[in-house]
């Protein structure tokens, strides 16, 4: 019997169209898998079994009746809990939103429903997407399916772990400084941060509005491209939404799948490598470059000297914007309320009880950075550095079609290892943050397993703004060059998980 949880989303869509499987069977198989393994993984904060099966059976009935259906109709999906979903609890990983049932859908949630994809549930994340390990979730961490003692990345560790544990074939993530790409890297999956504004953020709980972007997560480049096309496009409800058509991601991924890279110039960013990068990460990165060179690509080195300051700029801009965005969580309109005699005291008591330490740290830091007397020294300096980083990218893209680096300096570290050292935690995102500061699109895809620890290594691709299709063109080729030696997607090499009969929450 076929284990459908191991199939790609593209294969599932084809099999559904050909009548080889029903959406009810696919959805049930994933719900069974969640019930069996999620007690150990904890990728999901909420499992939406009944409604997912209802969507599936409606799709099956329509297909049987000959109704024309969208390409991914009937293929199940997981959604990061930062996305507001009507009728499904939405917490953003925070105690302050525990039990909140949103009265409306985010635009991406509506698009997923219009695509007729059964929603398996909501995935775990660092509280309000602040973190790189999911350890800042108020509901406990997610565990990496490759090694349960290790982090699945963050903030979107739940979405990435759900893919790597075969609990879902596709997932939605959000990326403010790497929260799609870094979890993809450490779980051996694929994740894309689109160009800023490429996917509507209406109904996405905002962290830092000039950096946030929703994006697709999958186990293959083609699957990720298919979801990108479902999610993307202009939305009048989002003032930052780009007025341009969705990039031809699927066509680009298919073109790339030939493995041909003739005429493609790949720029290696000097500042994102070398010292501080694990040996096995560097080795797999170099091997990937060799494979690309063998397929006809020209490899050049580029320099982006201002990247040295990207992390510091990010940790001023993000807290400043977050401190403003999180002001709405005050116990008045939704979520937790800790009642005191006046509304001001109620707000302060509610926020004290509802926010975790990392949120408190960043709100305080942002309040400081925006306070009178410090604004120009901090926020102003960071915004000037942001301009320098954009200039570095512009110069680098004069020399190359795409830029590359390891996605993360190391393979996943142990849960608990960096939880008490915020600065060490922040270093995880050193290679992913520049893309958010510049608004450009980026992808992480697997480069293999580090020889010293057998854990996944991610290869990051960056393209100029609006050129998301290039990521799929080159990513599709890199994947085609690397996967034969793994016998398929890298996730196929992950150790078998213990199956329990524990019923999912």
């Amino acid at each position: 019997m076929t284990d459908w949880t191991r199939a790609t989303a593209a294969h599932m869509a084809d099999a559904l169209a050909a009548g080889e499987v029903t959406s009810s069977q696919l959805t049930q198989a994933h719900l069974d898998r969640i019930a069996a393994v999620d007690g150990d993984i904890h990728a999901f904060l909420y499992v939406n079994a009944e409604r997912a099966l209802a969507t599936a059976s409606a799709v099956d009935a329509d297909r049987a009746a000959g109704v024309s259906l969208p390409r991914l109709a009937g293929v199940p999906i997981a959604i990061k809990d930062v996305v507001v979903t009507e009728g499904l609890p939405t917490t953003a990983g925070s105690r302050i939103l525990e039990g909140w049932i949103p009265p409306y859908d985010a635009t991406v949630a509506r698009k997923v429903r219009e695509a007729r994809m059964p929603i398996l549930g909501k995935t775990n994340m660092d509280e309000f997407a602040m973190g790189s390990s999911t350890e800042h979730s108020a509901y406990g961490p997610t565990h990496n399916p490759w090694d349960l003692d290790r982090i699945p990345g963050g903030s979107g560790g739940g979405s990435a772990a759900a893919l790597a544990a075969f609990e879902a074939p596709l997932a939605i993530g959000s990326d403010t400084g790497g929260s799609i790409r870094q979890p993809a890297s450490v779980t051996g999956t694929v994740g894309v941060k689109p160009t800023y504004g490429g996917v509507s953020r209406y109904g996405a709980i905002a962290l830092a509005s000039s950096l946030d972007q929703l994006g697709p997560c999958g186990r293959t480049v083609l699957d990720t491209a298919m979801l990108h096309e479902v999610m993307g496009g202009h939305d009048p409800h989002d003032a930052t939404s780009l007025r341009e058509p969705v990039p031809g991601a699927v066509a680009a991924a298919r073109e790339g799948a030939s493995g041909d890279l003739n005429g493609v110039r790949i720029g290696v960013i000097r500042e994102l490598g070398g010292e501080g990068y694990q040996d096995g990460v560097r080795q797999r990165f170099e091997e990937t470059l060799d494979a690309a060179r063998g397929a006809g690509a020209t490899i050049v080195e580029v320099s982006c000297p201002s990247f040295e300051y990207a992390l510091a700029a990010y940790y001023l801009i993000l807290p400043a914007e977050a401190s403003s965005n999180l002001a709405k969580f005050d116990g008045v309109r939704f979520g937790l309320r800790v009642e005191r005699e006046t509304v001001e005291r109620t707000m302060a008591a509610t926020r004290a009880a509802g926010f975790g330490d990392e949120v408190k740290r960043r709100v305080i830091l942002g309040t400081y950075a925006l306070s009178a007397g410090y604004y120009d020294a901090y926020y102003g300096s960071a915004q000037r550095v942001r301009t320098l980083i954009q200039r570095d990218f512009n110069a680098a893209f004069e020399q190359a079609d795409v830029l590359v680096s390891p996605t993360t300096p190391t393979t996943p570290f142990k849960l608990g290892e960096r939880i008490d050292d915020p600065l060490a935690m922040y270093l995880n995102d050193v290679a992913t943050i520049p893309a958010n500061l510049a608004g450009i699109p980026g992808m992480s895809l697997p480069a293999g397993l580090a020889p010293e620890d057998g854990l996944p290594v991610g290869f990051q691709l960056l393209a100029p703004a609006h050129q998301d299709a290039r990521l799929y063109r080159v990513g599709g080729a890199v994947e085609a060059l690397l996967t034969p030696s793994w016998g398929g997607p890298l996730t196929g090499l992950a150790p078998e998980l213990a199956m329990t009969t524990e019923v999912a929450k």
Binding site: T240, V332, S381
Partner: protein
């Protein structure tokens, strides 16, 4: 830039409307001070001639026709409220005795 002291964190917590205990201040002050030291390396990196970037992609103001559209019904908007009354969000007393 000056170092962030415990008393600064206490003042900022009031501004940010987050109650903090002595334990909270002990725990967070040291970490925040280290983070401020790290981000302070930015000062002077870009000269005053470098323009600021507030937004990564150039954006234009968004307009639409002034027509009535469907919006969230009042009952739906109030559905998640900790407390509501007469179609409004209900909150404790807004002004304290001292105000």
């Amino acid at each position: 830039m000056s170092a962030l002291e415990r008393s600064d964190v206490a003042r900022l917590a009031v501004l940010a409307r987050i109650d903090m205990t002595d334990d909270d201040l002990d725990r967070l002050s040291g970490q925040l001070s280290a983070i401020v030291d790290a981000v302070a390396t930015l000062e002077g990196v870009a000269g005053p001639d470098v323009p600021t970037t507030s937004h990564p992609i150039p954006m234009a103001n968004v307009e639409r026709e002034d027509v009535v559209e469907e919006s969230l019904a009042p009952a739906a908007a109030l559905s998640g409220a900790p407390e509501a009354q007469d179609g409004r969000f209900r909150v404790p007393q807004i002004l304290g005795e001292e105000a």
